[in-house]
Subunit: 346 residues, 2 copies
Amino acid sequence: MKKSTATLRAENYPHDNGEWFCEFNYRNVKGLGKEEGVVRRDPSAVILVDGLYYVWYTKSEGDFNSKSENIYDKQFPWDYADIWYATSKDGYDWEEQGVAIGRGGQGSYDERTVCTPEILAHDGKFYLVYQCMDKDGKYRGTYETVALAAAEHVCGPWTKSKEPILTRREDGHWLDDYETYNDQVFEGTVHDPTLFFYNDKFYLYYKCALQKDKQNKPDFAGTNTRWGAAIADKVEGPYIPSEYNPITNSGHEVIMWQYKDGMAALLNREGPERDTIQYAKDGINFEIMSRISHSPGAAGLFRNPEADKAPLEGLRWGLWHPPYEEREGRWDYIRRFDIRPKYLQN
Amino acid sequence: MKKSTATLRAENYPHDNGEWFCEFNYRNVKGLGKEEGVVRRDPSAVILVDGLYYVWYTKSEGDFNSKSENIYDKQFPWDYADIWYATSKDGYDWEEQGVAIGRGGQGSYDERTVCTPEILAHDGKFYLVYQCMDKDGKYRGTYETVALAAAEHVCGPWTKSKEPILTRREDGHWLDDYETYNDQVFEGTVHDPTLFFYNDKFYLYYKCALQKDKQNKPDFAGTNTRWGAAIADKVEGPYIPSEYNPITNSGHEVIMWQYKDGMAALLNREGPERDTIQYAKDGINFEIMSRISHSPGAAGLFRNPEADKAPLEGLRWGLWHPPYEEREGRWDYIRRFDIRPKYLQN
């Protein structure tokens, strides 16, 4: 018998005891599902407060056209959006409660849109981080910023930061030695913020995208998003981008959870390490723990109080929205995912 | 600036000029879509004959229950199935034509089911390869075989091989040095046959699965399917399994096309190299050409007469069925996929 090149490769792959591997089930939820003319997408983490589940998400109404000649027309589902929230007793049947964060007034940094929220419950308070655009944001090429809002109570009222806590960097960098991306601007945009209290500091993770793709097509690595981290001593900042950025070479929406002393991440959609689960003991230097498939896009994870009991407890279930190539119809909607029970360790 | 471990890894990934990378669009088709109580799945390749597109597929009716105590009850969607075919003028609007291959009579090797067909047009004739089960096949643990049927005309009549052309091997092997799979039986089942005329021989590729998983859960590599090849001088066989089997370390349903002097393959769903496109100049020893995502499951590819013009022309479009975790409702149905136009080289 002879060995094929595939067999020879397989002999060099790392093994794992299966604690980091899983598959997912998907199902619809009530209250946040399909609705003609209404966009609901990018759910935050789900948190449990006094026996009730809470989630925040992007909501917009009306049609959009990314090819419109009028730069002030709604261009994307998350353009001219607000952040709404919903509650549920069981995680399946959701009741929409209303606006949590509305767009700002004329001339404000968040006049045009607020979207893609993430929640952090910390020390008895609640913090939302989210993307913003001022009136001309789209015109300048998805010139988006990240803002923070704080509340004493989970239902608000929310106090917005006076200025964004993170902006794109004109002087950013990309992977200088990675030929395809040479000379590109890393952190040319900052999206999908996710905030953790970690190692006595606040870690803000986010997706970075190139302003444009030099070759206007992806290379082997897929397309052009990676993640960055910015760290602050206080929740309000200042957030200082890590010297190690980018901290991933793959991944689209930021999907992360805390596990013991480190950070776990699910990378999907883009890059050579798409569809992997990774772990960084220092929150920065990630190693591949498993390769998965059919992972949920834009997932907001249930912040499981028992997350330290097994690697994937923090990924146990959550909400997500199907990407446009999988969704049915024109209007984004939110679904639920669950790790299949046979993979649960706890 | 410092480099994260992810950046250091990325510097070692191979580059590609993008010719092997793509993303997919999905859409429903008419005539083979959702139908209550009817299963249509596992479409063959699509071939163009005299201006009309032809496809073959598994069709069964009625409910199934894999936990039934009666071993002769229908256990899976492809149990008690026949092979039907349909035609289309444009590849979107399909017209079901009727049965191509029906189950055999009492005591025959294909008494219980015929399913998962693949078509080869060669030298003016047509060949279908497909899975079969005799009456007790399910009882003995998916003891399935592969048979061949030949026809002078694309619409039949089809002449079945007197015996299966491929059976499971009691003396098979798995990856002996790959600890998790030690002592397992490779080719314990043979599924998803695909036939090519290649290098003046007939190459039969197929999916192999373990009879059972020793640990009853997947390791790092995912679950337990890989592909094998068996080669014959004549279309009717005998088909001799390659000494190099398994020829992949990943992949579920066999999805392959010919490109220039070699064979190209899309591996999905399972294993450490899931969601890769690979190429083997000799049809046996495959190398990874790109990493993709959201690939179509159980795809039947349009056998593009211009497949040699660019690496992915043979993957340009086809039919597939969503896996059970993605499909809507209980009944399998067939959809279409297309490589997004921006990735097409031709």
